[in-house]
Symmetry: C3
């Protein structure tokens, strides 16, 4: 990829990550809300969902964890949590609404995770998995903390679209497509596929034992 | 903070951490005991509860994990586990007793976590969260391993007092209070507030959806 | 230990780790299968079980995570997952079969984890715990993701044999036994003891409160 395009994406990555943190945090807050958590619990769930996937990625890659030096990500997560905590008392939020910030967080974190991992020089298959993990692990932490089986293993094509999108992003970069264009295209593909998969209840084949 | 005071605290930190490990390990053992775990399970729960929070803090900060080079922390955790395993067979331990080592571990780990993070140069909000995480994460690991929803999200002011205490500690340091005095004061405040919150069942507002 | 023997073991370690990844991944897939996960869920469980324990070990030791640079481990885990996913539809796999790859993974990962930790210069007690963790943590992740209480805390001598085997391995190395011989002996001891413990339902004393 060209240096200029990479610099542009690196700059965009900062804002993309903030958006991803906000989207994931909101999905965490709403899920925690279904469990009637208190204000603090909701803030912790927001942080685990919003910052958890990227933290694990950075620890696995032995990079500096992205929210340690710059507390903007932390503030974004907490502010979203408090905002939704208050909003939910004032306005009726439809149950299914949480799927939208969740899909947005999945898409943006998948692309960001893949890109960071590629920049770090990991092999492509590992990079695509880092995309999935950055995208999906926050939701897994959220569900474990709520003591539920993670929705990622049952929900229509949750991590599958994240993985296919990450692979598509890598393929486009290897094919010399402009990196920002590739990021926007693959990210949008993840977001739309996820919402379509829910709407039409697309699923993968399940494990079945021959009896 | 002055250099001397910092050195004193750094030395104290070693002993404080050992106490925190013992307190947390005992709380883990008693919780594991309610689940009728075997001796080994109880030792693993002790280690996860006693060393888990600090380990995650150190991995996030990319510091050397505190129990890797010096096995005293490890030995402290295991010895506490075996001691309580035997003691519980000989003496009737009241159910509520486990709240005391738990509160002591919460207080000491919160202050230690905040201090380590500040020394490491993180922003103050991140440092206060590292305090909460060091203090509360061991108990979260304990509860996840026992397959329960973490008590931290439901128990009266568990992590809330940890957070407020960590913020108080930071505020006192920024106000030029002697760092050891600040540590003792804020730590005691966490310990007492936690026990008072349980006694009077103080809670935070819960999440509520407008319907 | 002599340099030559160490070099031989280091080379063997690569192949041992691949076998351990395959064994653990298969045990994860079969467990995920009982939960009727879909293909993707099964792949994720395979990765968490096969790569999880070693990843945590490497993050705690601040080593480069073993599967980041060389994607063979990743491919081994995914291929095992897909292979078993298909095989289970064609051939009746007895429920208890999953205990064999599980015991093989436990044995090989315990020895590999202890050895890596010793090479890294940790104290012996910490090294033995790293063996247990590398061996048992994958299965703990597997069970948490399946929302069950980890079998490691209840199953006959699961982590206990891993720990005793790791301690035996360390003792043999300290007694100047050839390191490869020690690895094979201690690893086989773990594998056989685990299967015998299941067959004869050997258990440790459980926690019991005096009432």
């Amino acid at each position: 990829m060209t240096l200029n395009a990479t610099e542009t994406l690196l700059e965009s990555l900062y804002w993309i990550t903030i958006l991803a943190v906000i989207g994931s945090s909101i999905s965490g807050v709403l899920k925690g809300g279904f469990k009637k958590m208190d204000l603090f619990g909701v803030m912790m769930i927001a942080i685990a969902t919003g910052l958890g996937g990227g933290s694990l990625r950075d620890m696995l890659l032995d990079r500096e964890v992205f929210w340690i030096r710059d507390q903007i990500f932390f503030i974004a997560s907490l502010t979203s949590a408090i905002f939704i905590f208050i909003l939910a008392r004032l306005v009726a939020i439809p149950h299914r609404f949480f799927l939208i910030p969740d899909a947005a967080g999945l898409a943006t974190f998948s692309i960001a995770g893949t890109f960071v991992s590629l920049m770090f020089g990991t092999p492509w298959l590992v990079a695509s998995f880092m995309g999935v993990m950055t995208g999906a692990m926050g939701g897994i932490f959220r569900d474990i903390l709520c003591n539920e089986m993670p929705v990622v293993f049952q929900s229509p094509l949750y991590a599958t679209v994240s993985w296919l999108g990450s692979l598509l992003f890598i393929l486009m970069i290897y094919s010399q497509v402009d990196v920002t264009a590739a990021a926007v295209f693959a990210g949008t593909a993840i977001f739309i596929s996820r919402l379509l998969a829910i709407k039409y209840n697309v699923t993968l084949p399940r494990f079945r034992f021959k009896t």
